[in-house]
Symmetry: C2
Subunit: 275 residues, 2 copies
């Protein structure tokens, strides 16, 4: 198997593969399902490639929204694939098949798919435009590619907290040191046009959270975003990106935005383009 | 007339009152009309107060969307009021009356209005929650208040440019020195709940701009946002907030985001609450 450009082993997957991380991904998927996925439905019989399915957090949603499409999922990590398969079996979903593979060297014939779906993958790649360029030949003419990514630079909140900002910047920096880009959401338009796709339509999906939306306070501000930041605590300490005191204040500042007068904003980007 | 807390004369209205500024406000109003105002319609016969109408950029839209409501507009500036009146006459609108007044000392009886509308006003006030608290008694029980504000801290773009960021920070700083808050959009929920309103519902309205949306590239990225930043150039120079070279690079960086591979994002916040 070729050396994966995703999740470079020398740095590791920036979010890690722990049990807590899996829970976080599940919580995130549940809270964000409607916001990110409500407008993705593939027709019966259409062949769909999910490139980089990870542990299948998005796969379950994708398959349920398009129960009669034939979905093929690939991922570089064997462990992730096994868990994705288990999840799919557990949910009783039967229209998904899995295959291990590198997004840069996929074992498929040209024009094998009607549609391609890529969610939270490009952020981890050193050359995301090349990845999109590699996927394009696999698509039939007129087929669509859907890409969803976050953008940590879209984060803002109330009350303001300089340490919380710095903690988020650490996440961005770690992802960059790992060869990825945590600010990739805003770049979907130039990446897709640059890779030769046409009719590129990007729609931002802001998660706006105040205390009138308690499920988002729990499910997003605390269990998704702040948990994700907390997940790199050890790496931040090891690489001495922040002092332990400032880090603690930053995390406390993020939790502070989840109180009754707090506000938290984060934007995902969803793009649909055509071959 | 009481000393206005809005537009403190020692600092001046941060955006100025020049002809170019008026054009900017008109362009902004046109581009953003649909995004910000499409869901505001007041019933026939209802009495609506627009607090802080300025030169009437929003008033025209408000009046057209609710042609049978009775709209009363107040503003602290006599000049602005005269121009708003002229604009309304020019448009042939007949359901608007104007009155000069300070938002903190309004010449109206309690419960005079069914609805209140406040757009791009709170950002200029030293104590916006007190202003909302002063407006509340003027509203009938069960009536609504609608508040729209921007938030410069929501700005992000591609390609990244540190000088452009710093130029935006200058705008935030100048507004703060003038007693205002250019980051107020995110605070609408706590401000309205803190002022005693209930059922506060905030919806973010992101202006997402890439080259597939040329009217927004022109109307928002260039003619609204970048023009607004350019409008404080002299003040930035006087107060030595940035070197002339860095400022020029910052402005160039903002225009750069309007090119074919550029992206620009800015978020307004609209809140509706009930007495």
């Amino acid at each position: 198997m070729p050396m994966p450009e995703k999740n470079p082993p020398e740095n590791g997957y920036v979010h890690g593969y722990s049990a807590r991380e899996s829970e976080r991904l599940a919580d995130q998927a549940q809270t964000l399902t409607e916001l990110l996925h409500h407008d993705t439905h593939y027709p019966a019989g259409s062949r769909v490639l999910e490139a980089g399915c990870g542990i299948g957090a998005q796969t379950v949603i994708l398959a349920k929204h398009s129960p009669d499409a034939l979905i093929t999922c690939i991922d570089i990590s064997k462990d992730s694939l096994e868990r994705a398969q288990e999840k799919i079996r557990h949910e009783g979903i039967t229209n998904v098949t899995f295959r291990q593979g590198d997004i840069f060297h996929l074992p498929f014939e040209p024009e094998s798919f009607d549609h391609i779906f890529v969610c939270f993958v490009l952020e981890h790649l050193a050359d995301p435009q090349r990845a999109l360029g590699q996927l394009r030949p696999l698509l039939k003419k007129g087929g669509t590619i859907t890409v969803i990514e976050g953008d940590h630079g879209s984060t803002f909140f109330h009350p303001e907290n300089a340490d919380a900002r710095r903690a988020i910047d650490c996440l961005v920096e770690l992802q960059q040191r790992g060869g990825g880009n945590a600010l990739i959401g805003r770049e979907l338009f130039p990446l897709l046009t640059g890779a030769g796709f046409s009719d590129v339509r990007v729609s931002p999906r802001m998660v706006y959270v105040d205390s009138s939306r308690p499920s988002f306070v729990e499910g997003f501000t605390k269990l998704t975003f702040t948990a994700m930041v907390e997940g790199v605590a050890e790496e931040v300490r090891k690489q001495e990106l922040m002092t332990p005191g400032a880090w603690e204040r930053g995390i406390a500042g993020l939790y502070r935005t989840a109180e009754s007068d707090g506000v938290f904003c984060y934007t995902f980007f969803k793009a649909v383009a055509r071959k």
